[in-house]
């Protein structure tokens, strides 16, 4: 470590707020080029201050638009402007929010709840800088070169911005640790010395190597870092990259993306590198000696390493909670369902609430044409001679109704305690995978909650992905006490969440019904049993369909009583294997 430090270029580590301001400046300089920022912070003055700083840096007149959460496609992408179309008698396009934000920023509040469809639309627009409208009989491309500011108010590692977007944004900024006091009297950051001019090639090598050392798999990381470095140079009015640009880019872009700690071991050949000549920023072209290249590489890694946020650091070093696979947003499916699916007739309604059915609308308007023509031809509303324009009024609008089978989410609550022997766990895993194989044919989802030891844990968030399910299941441990009450509580919460987002939950509990850990986490059979029955009562009130599979070698009373209390179907399956279990569940649901 000492040799490592000796050879490093001097790296200033500005305060978190100074970094945040620097990011704002960089984003404002080229919002679209660097994608934007994932801004993790609660709503509050610090976040507002940052956004104000960003707006101040943006060229005046460039748009900074807020995107409401449940935005519909006609406002996001654009579509037919119905009132204008009817007034003009020919299709008039309506510009969407994305095209309106061209040259500026789109601010997305509560980005951790962004639904996958909208995230994908944003990603596609970021990629091209153009928004393609193929809607309502219109086809056009409009420029939409904006940066995204994703306001991430998620708590913990589970609630995150969809990866499809965070991947594409250069900066992942965490303001949650910054106090208001740090912000108020922040000194303007002083100019950093530039360091030696860097060959672009050396910078690329250094950044790619740093990305690898930090376990950043996607190449977007180093590519974005390189862009940021170029941008920093051009902000300074320079054409060539300097060491400082590269190091800063690594710190700001690569650090927060780290998935592993870089090995601290220095490269072997640098032991005899001259350690007492930190390159100066006097613009003298530094000779490309291997030791200097190494110095840059090391400094880049060190800078990025220093910028790994504390919570991530805890995860990486194993002190924090177990990292779970990032999941695609799961909220908001209900709203989208109204506009898709199979057409099932029409009804009168506001076209903004659904999809306009033109034929039915015209049909509804047809009988009134004579009357309306006569009214319209009064002197104050003349119609061009010979024009036989159809007059459509708001009450004629018909929108298409769609029916879409709501998807079922099967939630497994698995007793992974010592009393339910380990092989039951293996069978449950097998049953989950078998059901999942069925589920992706039926477009259904599967989730898994395990309870063991002192509490319940969400092992697998509702998913349709075999890849993710297998990963989640592989790490499922077994043994310990039976916190039945916590398990039922967790599954009830999850089931309600599924229902809120428009799905139909079905709960499958696998247990022998013998609780020995109370809700408080304290051991004690009597208390635990009472808690479990209480939780079961609460579960019954949710009215979620449930099945309780008794996994005890001999079917017993506790499990039956629990099933009754939950309002669940009781299914004793003492010797069931994965196949039999999934068959039983399928027939029961």
């Amino acid at each position: 470590m000492t040799a490592y430090q000796d050879n490093r270029l001097p790296v200033a580590t500005p305060s978190a707020w100074a970094d945040a301001l620097r990011v704002a400046r960089l984003v404002a300089a080229d919002p679209h080029g660097i994608g934007g920022v994932v801004l993790r912070a609660g709503a509050g003055p610090v976040r507002d201050r940052w956004l104000a700083a960003l707006r101040a840096h943006l060229p005046s007149g460039s748009p900074m638009r807020r995107m409401p959460g449940g935005i519909a496609d006609d406002r996001l992408i654009g579509g037919l402007d119905l009132p204008a179309t009817l007034a003009a008698g020919r299709p008039v396009a309506q510009t969407g929010l994305l095209a309106e934000s061209d040259g500026g920023c789109v601010v997305v509040p509560m980005a951790e709840r962004l639904e996958p469809g909208i995230a994908a639309r944003l990603a596609a627009t970021l990629d091209t800088g153009w928004v393609r409208v193929e809607r309502d009989g219109l086809g056009q491309s409009l420029p939409a070169r904006f940066g995204l500011i994703l306001l991430d108010e998620g708590i913990g590692a589970d609630e995150r911005v969809p990866t499809v977007l965070s991947e594409r944004l250069a900066f992942h900024l965490d303001l949650s640790a910054i106090a208001w006091g740090d912000v108020q009297d922040a000194p303007t950051p002083e100019e950093q010395p530039n360091g030696a001019a860097t060959q672009t090639d050396a910078a690329i090598t250094a950044l790619v190597q740093a990305a690898e050392a930090l376990g950043i798999g996607s190449l977007r990381g180093p590519l974005l870092a390189l862009r940021v470095a170029h941008l920093a140079a051009s902000l300074d009015g320079r054409d060539a990259l300097s060491d400082a640009d590269t190091i800063e880019a690594a710190r700001l872009v690569l650090g927060p993306r780290a998935t592993q700690m870089p090995a601290t071991e220095p490269a072997p050949e640098e032991g005899d590198a001259p350690s007492d000549q930190p390159p100066q920023g006097e613009g003298d072209p530094a000779p490309e000696t291997p030791s200097e290249a190494n110095a840059l590489d090391d400094s880049v890694v060190a800078a990025a390493r220093a910028a790994i946020p504390p919570h991530l650091l805890a995860l990486l070093t194993g002190d924090g909670p177990r990292p779970t696979a990032p999941k695609a947003g799961k909220a908001g499916a209900a709203a989208a369902a109204k506009r898709s699916g199979r057409p099932a007739g029409t009804r009168p309604g506001d076209p903004r609430q659904g999809r306009l059915n033109l034929i039915e609308t015209l049909r509804a308007a047809a009988p009134w044409q004579r009357i309306r023509q006569r009214q319209a031809s009064s002197p104050e509303m003349p119609i061009a001679g010979g024009s036989r324009r159809i007059i459509v009024r708001a009450e004629d609008f018909r929108i298409t109704r769609f029916s879409q089978r709501t998807e079922t989410t099967t939630i497994f609550a698995v007793d992974a305690s010592g009393s339910a022997a380990l092989e039951r766990l293996a069978e449950a895993k097998g049953a989950v995978e078998l059901l999942l194989a069925q589920a992706y044919i039926r477009r259904d989802k599967v989730a898994l909650v395990a309870f063991r030891g002192r509490s319940a844990e969400l092992i697998l968030a509702p998913t349709r992905s075999l890849v993710r399910a297998r990963r989640g299941l592989a790490g499922l441990p077994g043994g310990g006490g039976t916190p039945l009450a916590s398990g039922i509580d967790a599954v009830a919460a999850l089931a309600l969440g599924v229902r809120r987002s428009g799905g139909t939950p079905v709960v499958v509990v696998l247990t022998d019904g013998r609780a020995n850990i109370a809700r408080s986490g304290e051991p004690g059979r009597a208390r635990a049993g009472a808690d479990a029955l209480q939780s079961a009562g609460a579960f019954r009130a949710t009215n979620v369909r449930a099945i309780l599979i008794d996994t005890a070698p001999r079917p017993q009373d506790p499990a039956r009583r629990l099933a009754d209390a939950m309002g669940a179907r009781y299914l004793p399956l003492p010797y069931a294997d994965a196949g039999a279990m999934s068959a039983a569940i399928r027939s029961a649901t």
Binding site: R132, T163, T205, L223, L224, R227
Partner: protein
């Protein structure tokens, strides 16, 4: 975003004169139609400049040699240049002959496949060279724009019932590209599959009843983490390739370096790779000419059948695709005949998505195909 490039052209259809919307929505109503053409000036990242990803490039080239292989599905990590490759391929495809003014780009050389408009035309058909259409299906596209629908303007202004062709019409004889195919609405996916399989788009809506040719190569890309595709959909794709981020340092550095060079000087970069792109185009043209005459020996046919049998693929589609793709590969490489080597090299792409999935089997389907190839073909 970087891999896809913020400065690249959208797709060729955007600047094509056949853009059907140009007639529908006049300049006043659409806003800035001139901007539609402005971005066509930045060249696409050249296909030949893509580093690595050999399997994906091979699959796309095979689909370009023989469009009947049935589409390409590209699944894999983020930021691996999936979209870049498809757009790059579009840019280098040789142009084709089409009936002038036909919204479906009918082939004047194949009277049987003409659309109703061209067939009814009394005057002799004039033809013109046009670029092969590569149509992007954006997420959020409505069904009426995909299949085509009533012409709004004529319905509103003149009360006429006229058909306005959709994206499927524009994709005829070309490519239809869907990014994030697993996020597309189910009913749209069903519809696309049906059209892709039959080569005909049947529109029965809003009082219209139209059939028009829609033969296109379906290219889908996506990420398995976002959700699986239904097996029925998987099976419809001729080739499925998995792409991963390169892991060795020199390759990674090379990717970043080329991308950086492209972003800083797109025109110069593309010019440097123009000869390589040109060579690929020449090879493609030659391969297309060679394809009809290429013979598949009985031994290769039999080996293919045994391979499918060993893997237990459902139906004959696997075998058929294996043969067609092996033949296209041989044609591309200028081979005299289709050998077992061609078969072995194309088998993973042609078969990996057709295996019956056993969710409890941890080994990936790629490994299973490789194993079967080794057992069956290494005679």
């Amino acid at each position: 975003m970087l891999l896809n490039g913020s400065t690249r052209t959208l797709s060729r259809d955007a600047r094509s004169d056949l853009h059907p919307q140009a007639e529908v929505a006049g300049p006043q109503s659409v806003g800035q139609p001139s901007s539609r053409f402005a971005h066509a000036t930045t060249p696409t990242f050249p296909f030949s400049a893509i580093v690595g990803q050999d399997e994906m490039r091979q699959a796309l080239l095979i689909a370009a040699v023989d469009p009947t292989v049935g589409g390409v599905l590209v699944f894999g990590d983020r930021g691996t240049g999936k979209s870049t490759a498809i757009r790059g391929l579009a840019a280098l495809l040789p142009s084709m002959l089409a009936v002038a003014g036909c919204p479906y780009s009918c082939d004047p050389g194949r009277p049987a496949d003409l659309c109703h408009r061209c067939r009814e035309q009394v005057a002799p058909l004039t033809s013109q060279k046009i670029p092969v259409p590569v149509v992007d299906l954006p997420l959020g596209a409505t069904e009426d724009r995909v299949v085509g629908a009533l012409d709004l303007e004529r319905a509103l202004a003149h009360g006429e019932k006229a058909f306005e062709p959709g994206l499927l019409a524009r994709a005829n004889r070309g490519f239809l590209y869907i990014d994030e195919v697993n996020l597309l609405d189910d009913h749209l996916v069903d519809l696309l599959l049906d059209v892709a399989a039959s080569g005909v788009n049947t529109v029965e809506r809003e009082g219209l009843s139209i059939r028009h040719p829609a033969r296109f190569v379906l290219v889908g890309s996506g990420n398995p983490e976002e959700g699986e595709l239904r097996p029925q959909l998987l099976d419809r794709f001729g080739l499925a390739v998995e792409v991963t981020t390169p892991t060795d340092l020199p390759t990674r550095i090379d990717v970043v370096r080329r991308r950086d060079a492209y972003e800083r000087d797109p025109a110069g970069f593309c010019e440097a790779y123009a000869p390589a792109d040109h060579a690929i185009r020449e090879t493609l043209t030659a391969a297309r000419a060679r394809l009809p005459g290429l013979h598949v020996p009985d031994a290769t046919l039999e080996a293919g059948a045994r391979l499918c049998l060993a893997l237990g693929t459902d139906g004959l589609r696997g075998e058929l695709t294996l043969m067609r793709t092996a033949r296209a590969l041989a044609a591309y490489e200028g081979a005299e005949t289709v050998t077992l080597d061609h078969l072995a090299r194309i088998a993973p792409s042609a078969l990996r998505h057709r295996l019956r999935r056993n969710p409890l089997d941890e080994s990936g389907s790629t490994a299973r195909v490789a194993r079967a190839v080794e057992e069956v073909l290494s005679l």
